[in-house]
Structure formats: structure tokens, C-alpha cells
Amino acid sequence: MHGFELIVSVASPRELEGTDLSPYDAVCLGSPYCRRVEGNYAEELDLLPGVVSLLHAAGKRAYVTTPAVPREADLPHVARLADAASDAGADALEIHNMGVLRIVREKGRRVAVHMGAYANVYTHLAAGVMRDAGAVRVRPNAEVSLEEMAILAREAGVEVEVLVHGKIPLGVTDRCFLLTEPEESDPKCPSACREVHWLTSRQWVLKTVGKGVLSGRDMCLLEHLPRLVADGFRVFRVEGLYETAEYRSEIGAVYRKALSRAFAGGEFAVEDRWADAARRHAPRGLCNGYSFGTAGRTYVGTVLQDANPEV
């Protein structure tokens, strides 16, 4: 790969609408959290040919995610999803579950595989097992530090994707926290997760999206981009799920410029307007702690360390 790749996640046509994709090289389509997300590209298979063509015409790569926790009853759909993504010409399938990895392998590896955030990749040996099963790229678990990721990339011979900005995935379940009735009959579904909901307790803030728990603070590696470049990372993601079009557009623009500058070498400094955008879109503050081996919610750095309104 020449240069770098900047990816954004987009769950549905609703999230795609109004998002300026010009800063991005690739779009990961669909939500891994819930099959009932309205317009979920990972569920509405008829949408895939059109959106993949659209992205290709715009010079973008198109990846399609899969459910993070597919129960037995979900597997027939997942098998159809893998076929549909391949038939639509998607450039890769993002997989979080080992059973799904096995299904895709058994289908003859018709599409490249990227291991997603919930695949629990912690070691180069695990990445190697997934590589042998068809994975060409892995996104290590959020807890894996940058130092560990560099070892993993070197030893396993796979591309490593780094979350540079956005909510950190902290947990996933298969029962929606935002509903009081079964999801088939609760009138709040599927609208409940379109609204923003925070969980607060003591000194902690988390974001709930129903079947997923995300960090309250936004991961931000803006000031550390030169280090990422020096460490050899080339694939970066902005987490765009459950965010606004403005978020995806403006944060993407910041990272396109910042990464271009970091890859050009020479002096690198976080511009005020970049920092302002990062702060403006992070009402609960910024963090990057896992990257440096500390608790996820901490911020390590000297530029945006003040952007933490919580205790």
C-alpha cells in the first residue's frame, strides 16, 4: 500500500447521507451491533450493490461488516451476507466472530477478510491463526497498546488497523439495553438507538447504543500521528457509527490533513482548528489511554489533555 488508508464506519444510508466522504479512502458499511438498526447495510443486502458501486465510482474501497455476536439463528443470514458482499464487489468483509470467519473460509475465501474490533486479537499468534483462515488485516482489541500492535504486525505478517479517533468499543451484548419489551414488539425499536444516550456513574461516562457499550470519551491520536507513521502503521479508522454527518465529515477532514502532514515528514504540530474540531465533537472529552498502556479513558499527551470535562 502506498501512503495510508483512512476508513470511516457508516451503518446505513441515513448515516451516509450528508457525510463528506472526500477525506476517506474506504468506508466500512453496516453496524456490527444490531441487525435491527434501520437500513443497516449488513442486513439490507439489496442495498449493497448500489452503495458498493457508488463508493467504487468515487474511488473508495468498500468494506462490509458482519454481526459481532451472531447466534446460531443468525448464521444463515451471515452466510447470505458474505455472498452478497462478494457478489456486490465489496473489497473486504469485516469479521468479529470466529464462527463467521470459519463460514467465509469454507465458502472458498471469495472476499478478503479483515478482523474487527470484537475479534479479540491480542497476540501475533492469534493473528496468525486468523491469517491462515483468510484474514489479511486485523484490528487488535482496544486494550492492545501501540507498542504491542507493532509487534503483532511484524510477527504475524498482517496489516494492522488502528482506531485513531472516535468512540472505543467496550462491550457488546445481544439484548438491547434501551428497550423494555422484546425488540420485535417494543415501539422504541429501531428509533431508540438513533438518539444519544449516556450512562453516568460516579466519575465514569459511557455511551450506550442499546446492544453496545462505547467509551464516553473519544479516542484521539491526533498529536501522536508521527509516532504511528514511524511505527509503520498505514491503516487508520475514524469510528463514525452513531455519530452525526458533521462529525464524520469534520473529523475525517482533520485526519486527512494531519495524516498527510505526518506522512510527509518534517515538523508536525496540531493546528488549532484541528484541536477545536476534536474538542467540539467530544462533549464527554478525549482519551487515548489504551494506546499507551494505561486505562482507556485517560489522555496521554500534551496538546489536548485539557479536553476532559469529566473528573
Binding site: M98, Y118, T123, L199, S201, Q203
Partner: protein
């Protein structure tokens, strides 16, 4: 007949579990299992426990079921080599890469895929079988239909946790604890215990069990005192069904509980399983409920005390 697997958080607990009827006991290797170090065992203690198991004709299983750093793989191989030399053959692992490495190095080892693998469908079970596991632990909320399929199609043993208080999220796929607090404690062998990360070092601060408020986009309170669901699945009532289903291992957790309580729990499940197997047609659950309720009440008291302590420990001072 289904094996009864019990917890061994200390040598005293290992003895109590075996003496009260456990067919097998699992212990955690210090720094490598899903509990903090005080409930794990060093190699000398594990060797002693293995000898005790062998003398009783039972099995000792050693958990290396955390997810380490890549740089710690040599430590894992050296430690499992030493334990194998001491006669240990049964291991519980989570990382598929470690599974393959250990199985390739020592084909005579017996590997079980831990609850941390989050095995939720038959294809998951087949994946971990290919990685070297001969038995898989069912995710705590797995339905019985999926268990049947795994038994029928996967060709691996199936282990089910009974009376485990499950996590709000799927166990093994949660980093809420380490998001709030994570440290580093490197022991004399060079193993990082990653305190605060249950996946990496075992200590979970259980922040999900704190009292939460749900707040909207503008900070408006939507609900107060929100409880993140954290229920127990597969109660004693399910045991007859699990036996009928052909489950290979019934596991009761509890390394953090007191030794007398673990002894009572093991004896209860031993008696219940034996009674059920002895007279399946005539087996009725009712006579067992009162004894079960007393155990559950005592267990919950111990658990609540531990949880309050863990949450307090996680707060910045």
C-alpha cells in the same frame, strides 16, 4: 455421566472441592487466569494440587485463559512446559494462537476453550476444535438448541457454567473495567497482570454493577438508578435437562468465595447430579430448592461484599 468441575482458588479449596465430590477442579496459574493473583496458584501449589488430584483419581485443570501480550508468549510456553513436566496435561485457554502453539508443542495436552472465547454458535465450536480444543465452554446465555447442535455436529465436549452470574455484556468481549482503571504489575517471572483488565489479567472492577443514570444528548436525566442486567443463568433446575442433553462438564465457579461455601456448593451439586442420574424418571427438583436457596443467599452475601470492595478500589482517590 457429566463431570462436575469446581473451583480451586487455593490448595485448601482444591482439597475441599475434591473431598466434597468434584470430578475435576480448575486452578489459575498466577498472572494467567481470569481472577486476581490472590485466587491463583504458583507452580509448586499447582503441582501439589495435581498430585492430590491424581491420588484421588480425579483431574486438575490449569487455566491460562487470559489474553497476554505477544511478548509474553515465551513465558507462556516456558511455564506450560514446566507444568507438563510436573504431570499436568489439562489446560484451559482463550487465545487460539496459544492453543495451537501448545498443542503443536505437546500433542498429549488436553485443551479446553475457555468461557473467554465467547463461543455462541456451532461454527465457533468448530473453529476452536480446529485450534486444538477438545472441549468448549458454552457462552453463559447459550440456548439449549445450540448446545444440542454443538453436541451433534461439532465433535467436541461441551461445558456449561451453572449458577454463574453473567456479565452485562458478553463475557470475554468487555473492556469496561480497564476503560476506567488499568495498571501494570509485572511479577518476578516477567508476567504483566494488567490489573483492571479481566481479559488480560483477571481483575475486573465490576463497574457494570455500579448504580448508573441514563442521560440524554443535552444532559437531561432519562432514568436514574439504572441497573445493567447481570443475572445468573442455568440454575440448579436446569441440571436435569443439561444431563439429558449430554453436556460433558457442569462447572461451578467460585474461586473468590470462602472455602466452606465452595465445599457446600460442590456437595450440593454432587448430591443433586447423583440423585438425578440414579433415578432420572423419578427425579423432582422441589426437595432441593430450600438447600439451594440457603447456599445462594450465602453466596450472594459474599459476592456483594466483594463487588462493593472492587468498585471502591477502582475509584480515583
Amino acid at each position: 455421566m457429566a463431570e462436575l468441575l469446581a473451583s480451586g482458588g487455593s490448595m485448601e479449596m482444591v482439597r475441599a472441592a475434591f473431598d466434597n465430590g468434584a470430578d475435576a477442579v480448575y486452578v489459575g496459574a498466577t498472572g494467567w487466569s481470569r481472577r486476581r493473583a490472590q485466587y491463583e496458584m504458583d507452580d509448586d501449589a499447582i503441582s501439589e494440587a495435581a498430585r492430590y488430584a491424581r491420588s484421588a483419581g480425579r483431574i486438575l485443570r490449569v487455566a491460562f485463559n487470559t489474553l497476554p501480550a505477544s511478548s509474553e508468549v515465551p513465558l507462556f510456553l516456558a511455564r506450560t512446559d514446566a507444568l507438563r513436566d510436573a504431570g499436568v496435561r489439562d489446560f484451559i485457554l482463550t487465545d487460539p494462537g496459544l492453543m495451537m502453539a501448545l498443542k503443536n508443542r505437546h500433542p498429549d495436552t488436553i485443551l479446553h476453550a475457555s468461557v473467554g472465547c465467547t463461543i455462541i454458535n456451532v461454527q465457533d465450536a468448530l473453529f476452536y476444535k480446529e485450534a486444538g480444543a477438545s472441549q468448549v465452554v458454552a457462552e453463559c446465555r447459550m440456548g439449549k438448541a445450540t448446545m444440542r447442535r454443538i453436541k451433534a455436529e461439532a465433535g467436541v465436549g461441551l461445558e456449561v457454567l451453572v449458577h454463574a452470574t453473567t456479565c452485562y455484556t458478553l463475557l470475554g468481549r468487555c473492556t469496561m473495567s480497564s476503560y476506567t482503571k488499568q495498571g501494570h504489575h509485572v511479577d518476578e517471572r516477567g508476567k504483566d497482570h494488567f490489573p483492571g483488565s479481566p481479559n488480560r489479567g483477571g481483575l475486573c472492577y465490576r463497574i457494570c454493577l455500579s448504580d448508573w443514570d441514563q442521560v440524554g444528548a443535552s444532559g437531561e436525566l432519562e432514568a436514574s438508578g439504572v441497573v445493567l442486567p447481570n443475572r445468573a443463568y442455568f440454575l440448579a433446575d436446569d441440571i436435569p435437562d443439561l444431563i439429558d442433553l449430554g453436556v460433558d462438564t457442569i462447572k461451578i465457579q467460585g474461586r473468590e468465595y470462602s472455602v466452606p461455601l465452595v465445599g457446600r456448593m460442590v456437595r450440593f451439586y454432587r448430591d443433586l447430579i447423583d440423585a438425578c442420574v440414579r433415578d432420572r424418571a423419578g427425579f423432582r427438583m422441589d426437595p432441593w430448592r430450600e438447600r439451594m436457596a440457603r447456599i445462594v443467599a450465602d453466596r450472594d452475601v459474599e459476592r456483594r461484599e466483594k463487588t462493593a470492595g472492587l468498585i471502591s478500589e477502582s475509584l480515583d482517590r
